[in-house]
C-alpha cells in the first residue's frame, strides 16, 4: 500500500486511537473515524478504568474526530460482539478454559467484521491505537514494554496485517499522551482502560454465574485426593488462581494451594502446591503464522503464554494443526484457552491456542 490511502480509524474514545488517527491524517491519508458501539445498552458515563463504549466514550471519539477535522460515524457492532466475544468468553469458561476476550475482539471484530466492511466500502486499511509495530508486514512488539499489545494481535493473519496500521508502536505511552496534549486532544489525560470491557464491575465470577447459573461442585486436593472445599461453579476459576478458593482444610504443611486444573464435565476444581503448576511443555492448536509460512523442524524462539507474561526461550515443533513448545525454564500457571505467542526477538512469529501444559518429566 503506497500513496494516499483511504483509511478507516477505529476510535474508541481513548487517547491511543485518537493519536493513531492523527498520525495517519498527518501522513496525508484520507481518514474517516468510526466508533464501534459494542454494547446494546451503553452506560452514560465511564467510571474509572472499566466499562467500555459508554456514550461518554463515543462523544470523546467524536470530539477527537472534530479536532482532527475528519468525518466520524458510529457503527453498531453490538450484536456481533455479543456473539463472537461475550458468548465465546462464557462458553470457553464453561469448557474449563481461560479465554482472552481482547484477542478474540481483534480477531473477530476489529480485523474481521470491521475490516471486511471497510474494504467493501472502499477503504484500503484500518488504523488502531494498539501499541505494536508493523515493519515490512511483520508484527513486532512496541518499544514500550509495559504497554506492548503484540500478544493480543498475534492471532492476525498476513492478510489482516496487510490492511492494518499501528502507528503508535515506536512511541511510549508517555510520548503518546504528551502528543495528544500538544494536539489539543482533551483525552490526553483520560485514564487507561483495563480489565474486561464488558464486565463493568470487574466481577468476572459473578458475571459468569449470572450467565451460567450456580453449579455446586467439589474442590479436590491433587496430592491427597481429598475433597477440601466446595464451589458454585468450576467456570469461576482460572488455572494458577490462589485467592478466593475458600478451602475448608489447610494443606498439611500450611503451604498455599493453587488451582491446578478445571474439569468441567465433573464440575471439579483441582488444587495443589505451586510447584505442580510448573510446566515446561505446552501443546497448542490452530496456529496462525504472521509470515504466512509454517515453520518446519525444531525452531528456537521465545514464547509468551499470557498477555503480560515474560517471554521464555523455547524450542517449538509444528506438526499439522498443532504446536508443541518445550520451554527452557518452566512457567507457572499456563492456562488452556490462552494464546501461546511465539517471538523471534521482538518479531511475532505466530500464535496458537493452548490446549495442555505439563512437566516433561512427569507422566500426564
Amino acid at each position: 500500500m503506497t500513496g494516499r490511502l483511504k483509511v478507516l480509524a477505529a476510535m474508541s474514545g481513548g487517547v491511543d486511537s485518537a493519536v493513531a488517527a492523527a498520525r495517519v491524517v498527518d501522513a496525508g491519508h484520507d481518514v474517516t473515524g468510526v466508533h464501534l458501539a459494542l454494547s446494546a445498552a451503553p452506560a452514560t458515563l465511564r467510571h474509572g478504568a472499566r466499562g467500555c463504549c459508554t456514550l461518554e466514550d463515543a462523544n470523546d471519539a467524536r470530539r477527537a474526530a472534530d479536532v482532527l477535522e475528519i468525518p466520524f460515524y458510529v457503527w453498531d457492532l453490538a450484536e456481533r460482539f455479543r456473539a463472537d466475544v461475550i458468548d465465546d468468553f462464557v462458553n470457553e469458561y464453561a469448557a474449563g478454559r481461560t479465554p482472552n476476550p481482547c484477542l478474540r475482539c481483534n480477531e473477530k471484530i476489529k480485523f474481521s467484521a470491521v475490516l471486511d466492511r471497510a474494504l467493501a466500502l472502499g477503504f484500503d486499511a484500518v488504523v488502531t491505537g494498539h501499541h505494536a509495530r508493523l515493519v515490512d508486514g511483520r508484527l513486532m512488539r512496541s518499544v514500550d514494554d509495559g504497554k506492548d499489545q503484540s500478544y493480543v494481535l498475534a492471532v492476525l493473519t498476513p492478510r489482516q496485517l496487510s490492511r492494518a496500521m499501528f502507528p503508535l508502536g515506536d512511541s511510549t505511552k508517555v510520548q503518546v499522551r504528551a502528543e495528544a496534549a500538544a494536539r489539543g486532544l482533551q483525552v490526553a489525560d483520560k485514564p487507561d482502560s483495563h480489565d474486561i470491557c464488558f464486565i463493568a464491575d470487574g466481577d468476572t465470577r459473578g458475571f459468569l454465574a449470572r450467565r451460567l447459573g450456580a453449579q455446586d461442585g467439589a474442590i479436590v486436593d491433587a496430592v491427597s485426593g481429598d475433597v477440601v472445599g466446595s464451589h458454585g461453579g468450576s467456570f469461576g476459576f482460572t488455572v494458577g488462581q490462589r485467592r478466593g478458593l475458600h478451602l475448608d482444610r489447610p494443606a498439611p504443611g500450611g503451604e498455599p494451594r493453587y488451582v491446578l486444573s478445571i474439569q468441567p464435565v465433573t464440575n471439579t476444581v483441582v488444587v495443589g502446591p505451586g510447584e505442580l503448576l510448573d510446566a515446561d511443555e505446552i501443546s497448542a492448536d490452530a496456529p496462525v503464522w504472521t509470515s504466512g509460512v509454517t515453520p518446519t523442524g525444531d525452531v528456537g524462539c521465545l514464547v509468551q503464554v499470557r498477555a503480560h507474561g515474560t517471554a521464555t526461550p523455547s524450542t517449538i515443533t509444528v506438526s499439522g494443526d498443532s504446536v508443541v513448545a518445550r520451554l527452557r525454564a518452566p512457567q507457572r500457571g499456563v492456562a488452556a484457552g490462552q494464546a501461546l505467542v511465539m517471538y523471534d526477538g521482538d518479531v511475532v512469529l505466530g500464535s496458537a491456542t493452548i490446549s495442555a501444559a505439563r512437566r516433561a518429566d512427569v507422566p500426564a
Binding site: T32, A37, P42, L55, A58, N59, P71, Y73, V74, W75, D76, L77, A78, E79, R80, R82, A83, A113, D116, R117, A120, L121, G122
Partner: protein
C-alpha cells in the same frame, strides 16, 4: 432560520427587560411576549391564553405527558393508565416509560398498521377496556421518521366520548400541514421552533384552558403557573415570527416539496429496483422520504452518501450516538434487518431539484457498494 426570524430575534436580544417586571423596560418586554403569544395563537387556531412557551418540543412533550397524568390522577386515583401510539417520538415514549417506572403508571401502546397509522377503532378498544383508568392519550400528529399522518381529530373525538384528554406531538406537522388547534379538538399540542425556521430551544405547548396540568418546573408562576421561569423574550418573538410565516407559506411549500419528494422516490425506484418506500402512500408529510434498501446496512449507505455530499439519516437524529433499529419500523411490522437498511431523506424550504439530482447521481453505485459490504454487523 428564516431571515425574518433572525432579524426579529436579533432585535429582541438588544432590548433589556424582564417581562415579569413592572417598570418600563419590563412592560416593553412583556408586550413583545404577549404580541408573540397572540401571533402564535392566531397562526395555530388557539387562544392566546392557551400558549405556554417552553424550551422546545421535548419539554412540551414531557410537560403534557407527565403534567396531565399527574393532574388527572390527582383528581381520581384510578386514572393511572396512559395510552400512546407505539410510534411516538422518544420525548413521549421515554416520558411515558418514566411514569411507568417511577409513578406507578400503566401503559397501553396502540398498534399501528403497516403504514404506521393508528386506527380510531384501536383507540376505542383500548379505552373501552377500562375507561375509568385512563389518564390521557398521546398520539403524534405526524411521524418524524416515516412521515405518516395520524387521524388526530377522529382520535380526539373518540377520547372525548370517554371524557379522556388527548395530547398530540405536532412538531413535524406545524408548517408542513394545516394545523388548527381548536378545530382538531385535541387538548394539548406540542410544537417547536427549529423545525420551521425559528430558533433552537424555543417551543410551545398549546394547552386547552380547561385542561389541568401539573408543572414540571416550579418557581415564579409564569405561564399560567404551569411553566415557571423568566420568559425567553427573543425565543418567543422568533418562534411567533417563524410560525406565522411557516403557516402562511405552508400550502405553497407543501406542494413544492411534495413534488420534489415524489421525484426523489421515483428516481430512486428507477435506480434501485428493490427499494421499499415506507410510510403511508397518501396521508404523509410532504418533506420526508423514508426508504429501505434491502441488503444494505443503513450506516454504510449514510457514510458513502455523506462522502458524496448527500446528507440523510438513519433513524431519528436523537439516537445518532448508538444506532438502534427504528422502533417505528418495527412497530409497522418491518423485520429488524430491513429496519437497519433504512434511510430518511428530509426536504424543506431550502431543497431544490438540484439536490434531488445529486442524490440520484450517486444512489445506485452507493447502494451497490453498501450491498457488497453487506449486513456484516448482523449475526445470521
Amino acid at each position: 432560520m428564516l431571515p425574518e426570524a433572525v432579524t426579529a430575534v436579533s432585535a429582541a436580544l438588544g432590548e433589556l427587560g424582564n417581562p415579569s417586571s413592572l417598570h418600563g423596560s419590563g412592560r416593553r418586554a412583556r408586550r413583545r411576549v404577549e404580541e408573540s403569544r397572540e401571533r402564535l395563537a392566531e397562526a395555530l387556531g388557539a387562544r392566546p391564553s392557551e400558549v405556554i412557551f417552553t424550551a422546545g418540543g421535548t419539554e412540551a412533550d414531557n410537560l403534557a405527558v407527565k403534567g396531565v397524568f399527574w393532574a388527572r390522577r390527582g383528581a381520581d386515583p384510578r386514572r393511572r393508565r396512559v395510552i400512546a401510539s407505539s410510534v411516538e417520538h422518544h420525548a413521549v415514549l421515554d416520558a411515558v416509560e418514566w411514569l411507568v417506572d417511577h409513578e406507578g403508571a400503566d401503559v397501553t401502546w396502540l398498534p399501528v398498521d403497516r403504514f404506521g397509522q393508528v386506527s380510531p377503532a384501536a383507540l376505542r378498544a383500548a379505552i373501552a377496556e377500562s375507561p375509568d383508568s385512563v389518564a390521557l392519550v398521546s398520539v403524534m400528529w405526524a411521524n418524524n421518521e416515516v412521515g405518516t399522518v395520524q387521524p388526530v381529530a377522529e382520535l380526539a373525538a373518540v377520547a372525548h366520548e370517554y371524557g379522556v384528554p388527548l395530547h398530540t406531538d405536532a412538531v413535524q406537522a406545524v408548517g408542513a400541514l394545516p394545523v388548527d388547534f381548536a378545530a382538531s379538538g385535541v387538548d394539548a399540542l406540542t410544537m417547536t421552533g427549529h423545525k420551521l425556521g425559528g430558533a433552537y430551544g424555543s417551543g410551545a405547548l398549546l394547552l386547552r384552558r380547561e385542561a389541568d396540568c401539573v408543572p414540571l418546573l416550579h418557581g415564579g408562576g409564569q405561564e399560567r403557573d404551569v411553566r415557571s421561569g423568566t420568559l425567553d423574550v427573543p425565543g418567543a418573538v422568533g418562534l411567533a415570527v417563524a410560525t406565522s410565516l411557516a403557516v402562511q407559506r405552508q400550502a405553497e411549500l407543501a406542494l413544492r416539496v411534495a413534488a420534489l419528494r415524489d421525484a426523489l422516490i421515483e428516481g430512486v425506484q428507477m435506480a434501485v429496483s428493490d427499494v421499499v418506500a415506507n410510510g403511508h402512500p397518501v396521508e404523509r408529510l410532504p418533506g420526508i422520504a423514508h426508504l429501505s434498501f434491502p441488503g444494505c446496512e443503513g450506516d454504510s449507505l449514510l457514510m458513502l452518501l455523506d462522502a458524496r455530499g448527500v446528507e440523510c439519516s438513519t433513524g431519528s437524529a436523537c439516537s445518532a450516538g448508538v444506532a438502534q433499529p427504528s422502533h417505528v419500523l418495527i412497530a409497522m411490522g418491518a423485520p429488524a434487518t430491513l429496519a437497519r437498511s433504512s434511510l430518511r431523506f428530509s426536504l424543506g424550504h431550502t431543497s431544490t431539484r438540484a439536490d434531488i439530482d445529486a442524490v440520484l447521481d450517486v444512489i445506485a453505485p452507493a447502494v451497490e457498494r453498501a450491498r457488497r459490504a453487506g449486513l456484516t454487523t448482523v449475526v445470521s
